[in-house]
């Protein structure tokens, strides 16, 4: 394909791909009846009522509460994942211990383990611990390094650090804890940021886990608040529903805009390095 045709061809493909997102942005300014009646991009009549309606309470709670809850959960998960996965990854990548090979193989295998396999017994466990309808069942697994994908990502990164650096530090009298803190961690910063942002976004989007654990109105997160709209057949609710949908993806788009290169490359190379 000639260079002159390349750009138009790529852009022609991008338009339908990005259409649903752009449509959502514009549709959030349409009236409910217009949303149902036409798939046109631009509103016939621009209205702000949908966003104003979000100021009213939904299930007795204001929309701001859902944002705060989602932020608490997603940010806690991101921090917990970075801390726990980097500790585990350092042990797997750099330290010697008898069970290293089988335990690392186990970790890799759990990347493929569907979350639904452990959902029921975990639920039963969290119920016994009295944690159902709190944020703990969402955060605790991250604090305990169950997200094997990120352990793998960090191990891959750590393998690219020259061992001479560790060994030099060791000769200078540093123990493993200092080497981890002052040699390894600063050098894998891209992997840490990638882990934090992916965890934030995936937790922000996660519907299944939040659906089974959270039920009180004041604990609902954004995906669960949006779910409240699914039942409605009232066209007038479509406007606020899409307004909240649009607002809910704004943080993801902002993170993506800021860190797109890091995210895409972190994701792309996870399967290729080594």
């Amino acid at each position: 394909m000639s260079r002159r045709l390349w750009h138009p061809a790529v852009i022609l493909l991008l338009i339908p791909l990005l259409y649903p997102i752009v449509w959502l942005a514009f549709a959030s300014f349409k009236s409910g009846s217009e949303i149902v009646q036409s798939l046109a991009l631009l509103p016939e009549e621009w209205i702000l009522d949908n966003y104003r309606a979000l100021g009213d309470d939904l299930a007795g709670v204001s929309a701001g509460r859902f944002f705060v809850n989602s932020t608490i959960v997603a940010a806690s998960c991101a921090i917990a994942n970075v801390a726990s996965c980097s500790l585990a990854a350092y042990a797997f990548a750099r330290l010697r211990f008898r069970l290293r090979a089988p335990l690392f193989a186990f970790t890799l295998a759990t990347i493929m383990l569907p979350v639904h396999i452990v959902t029921i017994p975990q639920y039963s466990l969290f119920q016994k611990l009295g944690m159902v309808d709190t944020f703990w069942p969402l955060i605790l697994p991250k604090l305990l390094a169950t997200d094997a994908f990120f352990i793998f990502l960090m191990v891959q990164f750590m393998r690219t650090i020259p061992r001479e650096l560790d060994e030099a530090a060791r000769l200078d009298g540093c123990g493993s804890i200092r080497i981890f803190g002052s040699v390894v961690l600063p050098l894998i910063r891209p992997a840490l940021v990638t882990t934090a942002i992916f965890t934030f976004i995936w937790t922000w989007n996660d519907f299944f886990t939040q659906l089974i654990y959270l039920s009180s109105p004041e604990k609902l997160t954004l995906p669960l608040a949006l779910r409240l709209f699914i039942d409605t057949t009232d066209y007038n609710a479509f406007g606020p529903m899409l307004a909240l949908s649009a607002l809910a993806i704004v943080p993801i788009l902002l993170f993506f805009a800021a860190f797109q290169r890091l995210l895409v490359e972190g994701f792309a190379t996870s399967g290729l390095k080594g």
């Binding site: 790529v10 149902v36 330290l95 186990f106 569907p114 017994p121 989007n205 519907f207």
Partner: protein, 298 residues
């Protein structure tokens, strides 16, 4: 699956032996690993054993599990029509959406794989739907845009397939990274030999890219079995019309967390694990025939 892509493991092993000289205490390793160990025991391995036990019981979360033997499995496999509807809907979804998504991903990866300042931007733009696709927001958009489809069994499933294919950016960026590792000389040599684009694709791109194709195939298949949000939102949690979007995970959720038939749902979980393990094993089996590693002697 990921291990297949990292052959030079042996080298790392010999290097790590040199650490012994410094008298590293193994206990320090377990200190670093302690959160992981607690998680692996109490949130992964333990629950899987507990799940196996629960699958032989009647359990509603609130009273103690009652042993019922293979009852759940028998009912699941021979009595419950919805179970087979769920298996069928999920099978159709996986078989259609995975190849469609991978073909779109490879096609677009090849299209944007050329030296240009715009490549990075295009790559990000195609990737963006992968970050948004799992959200309830996008599922609601799908519900409105495909409003006329979701009342019709085949089209409702097709709308969900489209939602999956729409997220082809994730495998695409992995393909793109793989394409960029193929040495240009191979293509130059093919051009000198007068090979056309189709022949070049079949004889150079596909074999050189086969480990990445395999990686994406395994990952995407497993991912497709777990799709939940789209089906839940589009069908209003029912899996309808007439069970056409009753994905396995959706039925599992319904049984476990709506009807509180946890024993039955546990049996379903184990069956899902079995199916996924079986399919993964099968894929690895076939891989010997078509996945080519440049490090291999053959």
């Amino acid at each position: 699956m990921t291990t297949v892509l990292e052959r030079p493991r042996a080298k790392a092993e010999t290097r790590s032996k040199s650490l012994r000289r410094y008298g590293e205490r193994p206990s320090i390793a377990y200190l670093f690993l302690s959160p992981w160990v607690v998680g692996a025991v109490f949130l992964t391995a333990g629950p899987m054993v507990w799940l196996l036990y629960l699958s032989f019981t009647d359990y509603d979360l609130f009273t103690a599990p009652q042993w019922v033997g293979v009852d759940n499995y028998v009912r699941m496999l021979t009595v419950d029509p919805h179970f087979w509807n769920a298996v069928w809907a999920t099978t159709k979804f996986v078989v259609i959406s995975v190849p469609a998504q991978l073909i779109a991903a490879l096609g677009v990866a090849m299209l944007i794989n050329r030296r240009s300042r715009a490549q990075g931007f295009y790559r990000s733009a195609f990737y963006a739907p992968s970050l948004l696709g799992a959200s309830v927001s996008v599922a609601l958009v799908w519900r409105v845009i495909f409003h006329d489809w979701i009342g019709h069994p085949d089209r409702a499933l097709l709308a969900l397939v489209l939602l999956a294919v729409w997220q082809f950016g994730a495998p695409m960026v992995i393909f793109l990274a793989g394409l960029q590792q193929i040495p240009q000389e191979y293509y130059d040599a093919a051009a000198v030999d007068g090979a056309g684009p189709w022949r070049t694709f079949l004889k150079i791109t596909v074999p050189m890219l086969s480990p990445v194709i395999f990686f994406n195939l395994v990952l995407d298949t497993i991912r497709a079995f777990q799709v939940f949000t789209g089906a839940y939102v589009v069908s209003n949690g029912t899996g309808g019309p007439s069970d056409s979007t009753l994905f396995y995970t959706l039925y599992l959720y319904e049984k476990g967390f709506v009807e509180f038939k946890m024993g039955y749902a546990s049996a379903m979980s184990w069956f899902l694990l079995l199916i996924i393990a079986l399919i993964t094993a099968l894929l690895f089996r076939t891989a010997k025939g078509w996945v080519f590693y440049s490090g291999d002697e053959t």
